[in-house]
Symmetry: C2
Subunit: 496 residues, 2 copies
């Protein structure tokens, strides 16, 4: 146990530095004046180097080896903690410092070029800067694949979705990719027969929007002794589990943009707030991965808050807060409004029906890019083809096409699929929760989210990284991750 206990001490220090980095990052996006950027970047870089030094300290490797031989003395949580320590160590030590540095530089440059290229719709300049990022990401994938004994794409995926496998995703996405185009047509046809939703009009004062957001956060179970709501350009969930910081951005003409964003981030926040208290500061106490994290935000935003029960409870509150009048503020109208289906160009604006098509396209293309089956120069063509096949959408420019997202520019390959894996998991978890506890849905209709939160705490949040995503889903829902619950959800919401 001595080696294991020494490891806990070391990872406790690492968690403290991670937490400090989280505060610095949150402040950078919410509070920091522009003139503070350069020095802040140096603070963040310095703490990141400290963390990397600690994670690659040879003595840490020795301790991991020693603890592994004494594994039979560990309980279930400690063993899982050791497994997650080993995962972090593997990721940190798989790469030479030279490769890490070269990739950081290439990414920094590509991110800058991407901002400009997207603005000016100039794919060629993006391609030039992206080439070295892709090359170096391939080297990273190769090095990690060799070290972990998995395929290159899976090695990248492991960073976002531990133990994730492309083979599993391939099967799920093949199924979904076959289902979606026809389903979208049916949903659109059905939508066309219903009255077009009315859009609540008004200048919606920022402070009122904020109060409404806070009210729903509180109702959903966000504990303000352990978190805050602030403003940033791009919404995110940051901080640490004892102090979770979510952000939004207000649009005076449309309160729903901020509101749905706040509900989405609240889903992320509830996960963080519900992580196992005893394991704070240890790897096993962290959220399991991007799939489950996204499942929690989508469960709250998509499954719960765009559903008729929630909107029946929320509509009168919204009407009163914004002094709304008329049919536009009815629960029925809001339900139609917040579940509109429209195949379109931009992923981040997509509805839950068409969103997976955006992801499937990116997943296929990033695999082809990584494996060298798709030259960077051919990306726009492949993109536009895919948008036509999957969504029937014509792409007028690369800015609105393959350059719309930042992910690839930063070398984040393996990230995209977790959005849709999260959507599948959200549907599957919510279906199981409703089935196992009949008070969840009636609770939502009255604004009582305790039964739902109780179920999520028990089956998801409180598990931390004890189980794999797959094992957690099996334990909670009785099945491995599949498409059935998601398809059933779509049919029930969009074809009835």
């Amino acid at each position: 146990m001595k080696s294991y206990k020494a490891l806990e001490q070391r990872f406790r220090r690492i968690a403290a530095v991670n937490g400090a980095l989280a505060v610095l990052g949150w402040d950078q996006s919410t509070m920091m004046p522009e003139g503070g950027a350069k020095v802040r970047a140096e603070q963040i870089a310095t703490l990141s180097v400290i963390r990397h030094e600690w994670l690659t300290d040879p003595r840490l490797g020795d301790l991991l080896g020693e603890a592994e031989t004494q594994k039979d003395q560990l309980n279930e949580w400690q063993a899982a903690n050791l497994r997650e320590m080993q995962r972090q160590w593997r990721h940190a030590t798989a790469l030479t410092p030279k490769l890490v540095e070269a990739r950081s530089k290439a990414v920094l440059n590509c991110e800058m070029v991407w901002r400009k290229a997207r603005q000016e719709d100039h794919f060629k300049s993006f391609a030039t800067a992206f080439h070295p990022v892709l090359e170096l990401t391939r080297e990273v994938a190769a090095a990690k694949a060799a070290a972990f004994g998995v395929a290159p794409y899976d090695a990248l995926l492991d960073e976002y979705e531990p133990d994730g496998k492309a083979a599993t995703i391939d099967a799920l996405f093949a199924d979904l990719g076959g289902f979606l185009p026809a389903f979208i047509d049916k949903a659109m046809a059905r939508q066309a027969k219903k009255p077009a939703p009315l859009v609540p009009k008004g200048d919606f004062a920022t402070e009122t929007q904020r109060q409404v957001g806070l009210r729903f956060m509180k109702a959903l179970g966000f504990d303000f002794r352990h978190g805050r709501l602030d403003v940033s350009l791009h919404p995110f969930t940051g901080g640490v589990p004892t102090d979770v910081r979510i952000t939004t951005r207000y649009h005076e003409g449309d309160f729903a943009k901020s509101l749905m964003g706040v509900l989405h981030e609240t889903g992320h926040a509830l996960y963080e707030l519900g992580l196992p208290k005893f394991w704070r500061n240890q790897p096993v106490g962290e959220a399991r991965g991007m799939t489950l994290h996204e499942s929690q935000s989508l469960l709250i935003e998509m499954q719960v808050c765009r559903g008729p029960e929630f909107l029946a409870y929320a509509a009168p509150i919204l009407r009163k807060a914004f002094k709304g009048e008329g049919e536009a503020w009815s629960a029925d109208n809001l339900a139609r409004l917040y579940t509109q289906v429209r195949p379109d160009l931009i992923r981040v604006d997509a509805d839950e029906v068409t969103y997976p098509a955006h992801i499937i396209l990116r997943y296929r293309l990033e695999q082809a890019l990584l494996h060298g089956d798709l030259p960077v120069a051919d990306l726009p063509h492949a993109w536009n083809d895919g948008m036509q096949t999957l969504l029937g959408v014509d792409v007028p420019s690369d800015s609105l096409g393959c350059m719309q997202d930042i992910h690839w520019a930063t070398g984040s390959i393996g990230y995209f699929p977790t959005y849709t894996l999260g959507a599948l998991a959200a549907a599957q978890l919510f279906a199981a929760a409703k089935e196992q506890d009949g008070s969840i849905l009636p609770g939502i209709a009255k604004g009582d989210f305790k039964p739902l939160l109780h179920w999520l705490r028990k089956h998801v949040h409180g598990k931390g990284s004890l189980l794999s995503t797959d094992a957690l889903l099996r334990a909670a829902t009785g099945k491995p991750l599949g498409t059935a619950a998601f398809k059933a959800h779509l049919k029930s919401r969009y074809l009835n």
Copy 2:
């Protein structure tokens, strides 16, 4: 030069950790929800340990020794930088880890006990917790005195006022202590003959107070691309020179409390913002010490903003912003109001005339405590005696007497005198500035602070830690720090 350059690299990393600590501290006082406290404390402790490890790394000592032998290759700024590196090294290495830890624990406990004891006016329980703090602070003083080759009190003072000497302070405070009692009587007599100032009445909305504060900050030269104004329980200036964070606290019944606080912190902030750009991240680029820091806040708040020129400019702005009516809002009335003299119990509420008496008392008592000439049990008696002699005030309780300040509870001996040294320096610097540049005072009267800021940038802010406080004052004013300018200022403001 190689050793020196290596030192610069090391101190650059230390500065990054210092900056991260500044952000964590600012956030803790302004943004953090209560439930984040424990984990935040661990983040701060971890970064503090990193800093201490870096500062006490034997290799750093070797480099300092090597650089010292090659000092003739350094220019003036580099040599001063090396001197300040050596000072930080001396402070960090003078104490054994055991002593540092024992003192931290004693201080943590004493701070907690002090809060309760002050509330309950129970000196005995404070004394019990303060005893070990004083003992351990004596050990610190002895260890540093031996290492630096100075007297114990001077060794403590060096942390707040580098190269400060009790002998110098003794002389200044003997002079001032002799002058003040009779002067206070005269100022009170003169004040009694003038009409009593009217207090502007109203509920002063927080947002209006904030806007007024921002307006004056901007006029004084605060650059909002490099800083912010926020709210905290106790006002402070934090952050880093590229991102200076000042705070205030609003009282709806009295806008002046926040306004004067904001102006005071703006003085501190202007110093930080004006530190030499080239030497950011290096010890020589830091503010010189507490005396000069306090001189900058007092120069702005006391010398400038409570003066007739500033109030002639500010009164109409305040009247308009708060929709004030009548004589209470005249510049003359505000000048009388903001320069009221009243000997009283509490240091932080004291006016500039009686404030030094509070400090002289504390300075004498903390020396006696440190040297063992005053047993802790006798502190209340000595305190009450001193308040009677220096200010003619009866102390009704220890809560309003010797337990009012947190400083001693935290082992901060050597800090108090810098407040009054700062007041002396503020008067001396402002007198010299006005003498050297005739446009400063007319500028202030029109709300143009550029001439003043220009002078301060050149003679104080831009010098960083290049010179000692004494050398800087000699260069800027032609004289060592003295009482003459301060006494002249008091006579001119309170006897004319």
